[in-house]
Symmetry: D2
Subunit: 410 residues, 4 copies
């Protein structure tokens, strides 16, 4: 039995298979991957890592299983999955996932190979656990997969509280103790027990409030977009032999060092290092953006970027088009027992629809460029993309928003 | 300059008129009035008082005025109003306000007499402040009255954070530092500056989540209903000469001692002291309650109580009917600047309507009685009040809810 | 299984005999006894009660027993003792203990009668627990009594953290999780396991720093001295029939109401209510006080008070002489395993001797009086008690100290 | 005016010269230097950086200057120095300072060149501040230099609280609000005002308790020793052209990448990455170590290492000798006003001497090696260094200590 001191859960006790997995290179590597990627450009204290988060998820999984009276191999399998659930992350966590997914076809929670190989596979087999069964749990499959990756998973419970603690933004402070203790199974489904509609709402609300303040803060998005652009250039550079699979296995140090030393990426790298970021040239609401733009594929977006640059008469490297996918809300299908029946939260709570509408109204398409080119890039983007904003408005809104949003930008 | 250590704001510096007001009996009296009344029957750590809350409100008012560059007499007047805003409270804060209001016609924020008299009046006049002007601010009147009592007042900012801290329920943890700094005046109105729709939402959400978990927790409501019943009996007792005006000036100690020693109230008092509370015989949703019941006046409700008891063949003292007023949501008209215009939050945020719907769905009519009489009281109440629930359902729901809701009931 | 939300330990789960004891009048009564008595005159947030503290002690006892693998009846007995350990407290906790002890011969931890009688005795016997065996544990007797009342008891672990949380003074913030987990038995003695000299020191230091800042703050001492004086007058008043045994069973409300209504105590009561306290006329270090004064018995001190008043030509009620006993340091004999041997902390840590010296240097004899009589009382006390301070110095030191110490005095 | 959200001080407002310095590469670079170096190998949440610490020091400096009524250029100079005080740090903060100092003759607080050059120099001169005057403050020179670097500097106040927050070890939680407000100047010296002996003691105690638990934790020391060894090899490697000056200007990413890619250091790097650390072969108390060893210079220690390896018949790379300098206690000369006189804390408080003795007793010489070579290395080291421990004892103590000390080792 080992005890680890954690800034969120205080003492975490770790034992059995988890104890042995802790010392594997795959888990230790998570020490060098920041949980929130470029969010630390906005909130300077947000330097926590996937390692401590993984310990926290393991801790909450243990508490949930204790409460559910699950023991033996079945519990150990979940312990392993909880600790290992993020080993598939590349550098800067989710920030580069679209790139690596596009090139490798794999998301971070597809860890069948990673768990079968090397020290992790050895440890699992020593404890009589089938790596593929653990990987299935990480992918959210099966009864207990819901606890690791699902609407009521302990992953979310840990990250909301941890991200709130480290950014200083209080909105994520949920009552995880209550959540974990109200979990139960009904018809094979993980649900919140009778009397917890509000408990489920609080989880949803925490996520909804953290989103614009932290996860999708405009400056974090700009940083992420620049990092992605740089990483694409790195992958395409003839000077290096980094491919997507190798990128995926890097940690933050590797990637930063590679970006600094590669000639095609050193300027982006310098900007990120010095926080000399691009600024918003356009920041458009969903209703002002043609549907075709939102649905456009990667190639089409690249083409738009080139056109905007072309039209503005500047280097294409000076335009980044950032189009998030349409808002979704996974938590809306959270199951809660109400008067003995299992209900989806969205059937039960008027908040779900409202938060979905909020998300919709907070969605923004961004076009970013060096500050001195904002005006021409903005005009050109509005025209190229067919945005429903007249030129004057663009810069006005932009400045107003900058004044406000930069407030928390260090 | 005096510094006071506070468990929420750490160090509170107090100076000028506030420093002198601190030592008046009217302010010191607030030490003996619990902030949340019978909520401590549910959350045993919730023993904080109106005194520390008043210091916190004063502290946030100072911060807001600093930020708004308000100085001199105008600022001092607000300082005084902030510190004095709760001196009108009777014992157990809001718990008994309906009784005292019914008999004196006065709410706790009508403090014109209290501020003109005695030591408080003397201190205010020594500092060249007109007591009636300060009382106006307490009542929310005038430009700066909005800061003391309004949709964006510092009162709410303090109590949400303080109640969260002392109950242990995290939902009230708002970012008061940001709220205070984003306040501004537009057209004479206190508003949140550009870019703060979400800041306003977070305040609304915190209030909405604290409500069922804390302020309207069923056990706190039962305790409050029993305390009210006991206080009515005390006022009507021939053994004492306590009238509503005197009740209003008591503190918690006075009232508890009076209830313990008065023969007509000693049994209620014993029950409250031993937490041997009545239980819910009925707990009905708003759609199942005839409109006439919700709108009924005090006399009509007393008549209903008597009828229920009569019908059940028991002592009327064993039935308490608890009908909250229809849900309202003061914060919905919070003003926020959006693209240069002042907007009401309800126009801007889909959350307002959803939270209103939530409140509506959380509304409950309660009928309480000693546990051993629940069945007959429940049946009789359903019939007498014309509730749309059949007898069987009543006890089923009741038990289910009890099991769940009593979880946090110590 | 019941879950209670606590502001310090978050969720406390309570089961078995403790669950049943919770609802007894003796335990519910603790809701109305402030943990720190008159300390709330200095730290306005310090309104926590013996009830929540008792829950906390129960919680830590459960954790410790889990860790020590103690189960069954033996564990239940300790659970009961932990929850009941403070039922013997009178109003204002320790504040009046010298009075009641002098008149009843009983300290607050002598609870054999209280546990045998009434609902508590019934519950204990229903759970097959012998009340006297539980009372022995409360008194610190036997192997597990050390856990309830001893150098390493969970009582201290809870109150240090809780008092820090509620006063806002950070010094008491110990690592109780580590302490509880490092407990072990060696030769039947409760000790800290190998490698914990520093853990033991941290407990000692926390206590030593909280002492002058909180527990012995001069204003808390003055309030306590006035409360004691008032309580003595209450006991001696011909107008009431309160005796020491009855005083001991009162709660804070009872005592405050009694002091307010009794003619002999109403003036002290008014002063305490309005925080219109006596001030220090003398504040003398231990080396400046003749040994005879420190060792003097209660009668002798009364005689000194009368003499000082007489000499100053004022009402004896205007002089209070406050002589603490010589400093002691219970924690110095904490046992720690060092290289396999059990050692007393004082043998092992140079801090013990230093903290003892600190305590010695912080010891103060106080003479208190209404502010306007301080000079004559001070002069008269120096002479009567034979203090080694010349008149001029008395008032100088006094004023300097007042300026400083009153800083945290609200 | 910019506002930055900080996990420790909540909102930090930054203005004037500090606002402009924030965007310089020298300050932004601090984002990539972990505050506690290899301590994160023990406490996985300890990933905070010199950047957020520098903001915190700036924040406390502003509060202290406000309190001291210092304004204008004099204040701005201190603001700049506070924000810039750590720009001289190399990767892993203090961890490599002995190496770079030995080779460049410069400590991290010698920043005259760094402040005169580049963007920092430009910003300072634009604000009419002399870079060398700011650098003098960083070096602790002059009246206000004491506030930036001295016994009562705001540097320590920030790091104690911040390190406690991020490690989860509560001992560093001082009352910085009180400390800052009690600062005053007496005879040109920064002192704590009357009545603050205990305040000064609390600072000293916090430092003394954090030391063994955090700063000198054995595993953090082993990690540091391995990092130093690797860095020495890097500097000496013919494969790279990194010299000490360049090392000093690296950040953590640069160094880690360099160590990973250099053939001479890749094995150490792998061990650090996988937390596959050396273990203690010897862990000797100060009284068991000949004075000559403690005073030995760098060359002599290298010679001892070689001898131990030779004697044990193993590769010299497998032995690391770690000899801390003799304990010192800077805070012992903290000045406090007592009865109007300035006194050194060590004259006034018996704790100083005790804490010094504690430090002395906690001092340890370490010899580290791969786990499988511990026995032979231990025996050989005892003999070579002339330590006063017999062979058997070495491994016994070692194992006991490991069991205990590894408890908090993740």
């Amino acid at each position: 039995m080992k005890t680890i001191k954690d800034s969120v859960h205080d003492h975490i006790r770790i034992d059995g298979v988890a104890r042995d997995l802790l010392d594997t290179p795959a888990v230790q590597r998570l020490r060098n991957i920041r949980q929130l990627g470029t969010v630390s450009l906005v909130y300077p204290s947000a330097n926590h890592t996937r390692f401590e988060h993984s310990l926290g998820v393991y801790h909450l999984a243990c508490e949930a299983l204790d409460h559910l009276n699950v023991e033996g191999k079945r519990a150990e399998r979940v312990h392993a999955a909880a600790l290992l659930h993020d080993v598939g992350h590349g550098p800067f966590s989710h920030n580069l996932e679209p790139i690596t997914h596009r090139r490798t076809g794999r998301y971070h929670d597809d860890v069948h190979d990673l768990l079968a190989d090397g020290a992790v596979g050895d440890v699992l087999r020593e404890h009589d656990l089938e790596p593929s069964a653990v990987a299935d749990l990480v992918a959210g499959e099966g009864r207990f997969g819901q606890l690791v990756s699902g609407e009521l998973d302990v992953d979310r419970m840990d990250y909301l509280v941890r991200d709130a603690h480290h950014t200083g933004v209080p909105y994520g402070t949920i009552d995880h103790g209550r959540l974990v203790r109200e979990l139960t199974f009904a018809d094979g489904e993980l649900v919140l027990d009778e009397g917890n509609v509000q408990t489920a709402e609080s989880l949803l609300v925490a996520r909804a409030l953290m989103n614009p303040a932290v996860y999708s803060h405009s400056v974090a998005r700009i940083g992420k977009a620049m990092l992605r652009r740089a990483s694409e250039r790195l992958l395409d550079s003839p000077e290096t032999d980094v491919d997507a699979a190798r990128l995926q296995r890097m940690d933050d140090h590797d990637l930063i060092a590679a970006l600094r030393s590669c000639p095609e990426t050193s300027e982006f790298s310098r900007r990120l290092d010095h926080r000399d970021l691009y600024k918003r040239a356009v920041w458009a609401e969903i209703d002002d953006v043609p549907g075709g733009i939102i649905e456009a594929d990667h190639e089409a977006l690249l083409e738009f970027e080139r056109e905007i640059a072309d039209d503005a008469g500047i280097d294409p490297e000076c335009v980044i088009l950032d189009v998030p996918s349409r808002p979704s809300m996974k938590e809306s299908t959270t199951s809660v027992v109400v008067n003995g029946d299992i209900r989806r939260l969205e059937q039960q709570s008027p908040l779900v629809e409202a938060l979905r509408a909020s998300q919709y109204s907070q969605w923004r398409l961004g076009v970013y460029s060096p500050p001195e080119m904002r005006d021409q890039v903005g005009r050109s983007a509005v025209e190229t993309l067919g945005l429903d904003i007249d030129g004057a408005l663009v810069s006005e809104v932009r400045d107003g928003l900058d004044a406000t949003l930069d407030q928390f930008v260090d």
